[in-house]
């Protein structure tokens, strides 16, 4: 094994540097503001995919409800922005000035108590992470402490995603209904719709993503990461070795939820609205495919997967709207049947050997030891 240079191995440092280079330098210089904003939107899904790599790829817990946490994070941020946009002056024409417009349309005359704390930006930042993680904690404690896992966990999370969507759509007066929370304007007095703001948000998003990657890598190489793999492959043996499997699972599921929530909040900031169409069953399972296409065992792959699938979705649904669902369905089947390790697996099998051969030609005489096959 090549020497571990703090967290990453040598080659992984190169991957990390390439990714950072592409996100920080190549994309901003290559694309105009509109496209960059679009990429920023795709990157918010990378947070979810990254969480799924840890939770599903390493932990073996398939959650079909990541949209719940993405949506909750996004909604928390949207509630703050909406309150800031609904000052009594800006909403003077409403019958009750000072409350969000959709509440006024639904004959609600005062702000519900649970909206009140979202006047504070500090509280919002806290709630953006805390609310989804709290829900994830409740779900996972209830399930994992009773040793429910696998398929049942997937179905239950999916059901919760469905419930949350129905609830949001049904309670139109409190949540904005099927349209979601729209018409968001400023963040602490700063216009989020300006080109300048979008540019800044893109870089904030990239910075957060790179930090999340380092956190994920830290977990991956730690003892906890090893335990996750062990739990995925032989849960009972880990339990018999004296570890409390449920606690590890709860932790990783909550971490994935927190990552999704960050993604959701960044989504709201960059796209300027939040709606139930990012919460329900269909978006949640699409998020799984981002992760699967990238490679469920590769934290770098997750980011490329989210970028690739979303870019394909945008371009295909612009030109051939009918083809998109066929392509998406085919992708689901192909990623399961043909390349279960996703893009990262293809890279590892076909491209990496070439690079290794190329570099070893350059320094003849050095003996290269093979990579450990643990991952």
């Amino acid at each position: 094994m090549s020497p571990a240079l703090f967290l990453f191995r040598k080659r992984e440092w190169i991957y990390f540097a390439i990714l950072a280079f592409v996100l920080v330098i190549v994309f901003p210089s290559l694309f105009d503001n509109f496209r960059l904003n679009l990429i920023g939107k795709y990157l918010t899904y990378s947070f979810v995919a990254l969480g799924l790599v840890l939770c599903w790829g390493y932990g073996g817990i398939l959650s079909l409800g990541q949209g719940i946490f993405f949506g909750l994070g996004g909604y928390c941020m949207a509630m703050f922005l909406k309150l800031e946009a609904s000052t009594p002056e800006a909403t003077a024409i409403q019958s009750t000035p000072g409350i969000p417009d959709f509440m006024d349309w639904n004959q609600i005359t005062s702000l519900p108590f649970w909206w009140e704390p979202f006047h504070s930006f500090t509280f919002t930042l806290f709630a953006t992470i805390a609310v989804p993680v709290a829900l994830a904690f409740i779900i996972s404690v209830a399930m994992f402490k009773r040793r429910v896992g696998g398929v049942y966990f997937a179905i239950i999370t999916q059901a919760i995603a469905a419930i949350l969507t129905i609830l949001i759509i049904g309670q139109q007066g409190y949540t904005g209904g099927v349209n979601g929370i729209t018409d968001l304007r400023t963040l602490l007095g700063w216009d989020i719709r300006s080109d300048n703001a979008r540019y800044v948000f893109y870089f904030i998003c990239v910075a957060l993503l790179l930090v999340s990657l380092i956190v994920a890598q830290f977990i991956r190489i730690s003892k906890f990461g090893r335990l996750l793999i062990a739990m995925r492959d032989k849960e009972d043996r880990v339990r018999f070795s004296g570890y409390d499997v449920a606690n590890f699972k709860i932790f990783i599921f909550c971490l994935a939820a927190a990552l999704s929530a960050i993604g959701g909040a960044m989504f709201t900031l960059q796209v300027g609205f939040m709606s139930p169409s990012f919460v329900g069953i269909v978006p949640s399972i699409e998020m799984v495919i981002f992760c699967a296409v990238g490679g469920r065992l590769s934290i770098f792959g997750a980011i490329y997967g989210a970028l690739l699938v979303n870019a394909a979705k945008t371009s295909l649904s612009e030109t051939f709207p009918e083809l998109w669902l066929f392509a998406m369905g085919g992708l689901f089947i192909a990623v399961v049947m043909v390349f279960p390790e996703g893009v990262a697996g293809l890279y590892r099998q076909h491209i990496e050997p070439l690079i290794v051969r190329g570099t070893s030609l350059l320094r003849i005489g050095k003996v290269r030891k093979p990579r450990p096959a643990a991952e």
């Binding site: 009773r146 919760i160 129905i166 399972i285 369905g329």
Partner: protein
Amino acid sequence: MIGDYTYTEFTSILAMQGFAGLTLFSVFVLMALGLAIIFGQMGVINMAHGEFMILGAYMTYLCSQFFSVYLPSLFSIYFFFAMILAFAASFLLGMLVEWGLIRFLYRRPLDTLLATWGLSLILQQAYRSIFGAREVGVTLPDWLMGSIALTDIIEIPINGLFVMGLTALITLGVYFGMFRSNWGKRMRAVVQNRTMAGAVGINTKMVDRMTFGLGCGIAGIAGSAFTMIGSTGPTAGQLYIVDTFLIVVFGGAGSLIGTIASAFSISQAQSTIEFFLSGSMAKVLTLLTVVGILMLRPQGLFTLKIRR
């Protein structure tokens, strides 16, 4: 006097609401029966189950079109041909899917889930390309229209009654198929001990394929029945898939009685709450209760004790 209603009005409303719940119950049972076989017995997650149902519904639609144009004299009984056609189409497609997709994934249930979701997307788009995005409905023959008036206020629609009768028949059929026929014996043997079943000469692969096909075929019949009380669109299957999975899990996978009991309690709860609250809140409350109970009792209401 209860609220704004007189006593008789109130009981009539309860009766009508109960009947609406029974119709919902029939649809749930029909959908869940196929899934109870595929998921409950084989352990395969078929997310495309709703699309197999819609296939049956579209077959019925085609049949009604065909009979009204070419065989108007037989139109009053077209429904029985439609059901056979719906079963055959879903059965064959199910066997094909098992052969091409599922059989490679028996050891990877989570991957099956993703692959069948992909299949459901493809089928949805196929329906949209072939039949159009708009919802289609079938024309019911005269004898199925109208309703029976029991009292001045209570009226019971005939098509609802017919669907209920059909459900009872199919449920009985599945029961006899699973517990009284040779096929059922083989299927249960394979579920309980695959190696041993193979050793005594059961062709386990063929049993798998037949079981999957039959589950899909029953979904097709469910879709056929579904056309009688609602219209069919390309994405209609997706609306029901979560409810159906919850019903099967709630009832206890592998238990036929459990599936029926849970379909009954869920549909009755939903239609009763619907009377007091809005439809969406009724659904939220029912599903939340089910999820809550499942968290406390993950094995479901009824469980079969199987040595694995």
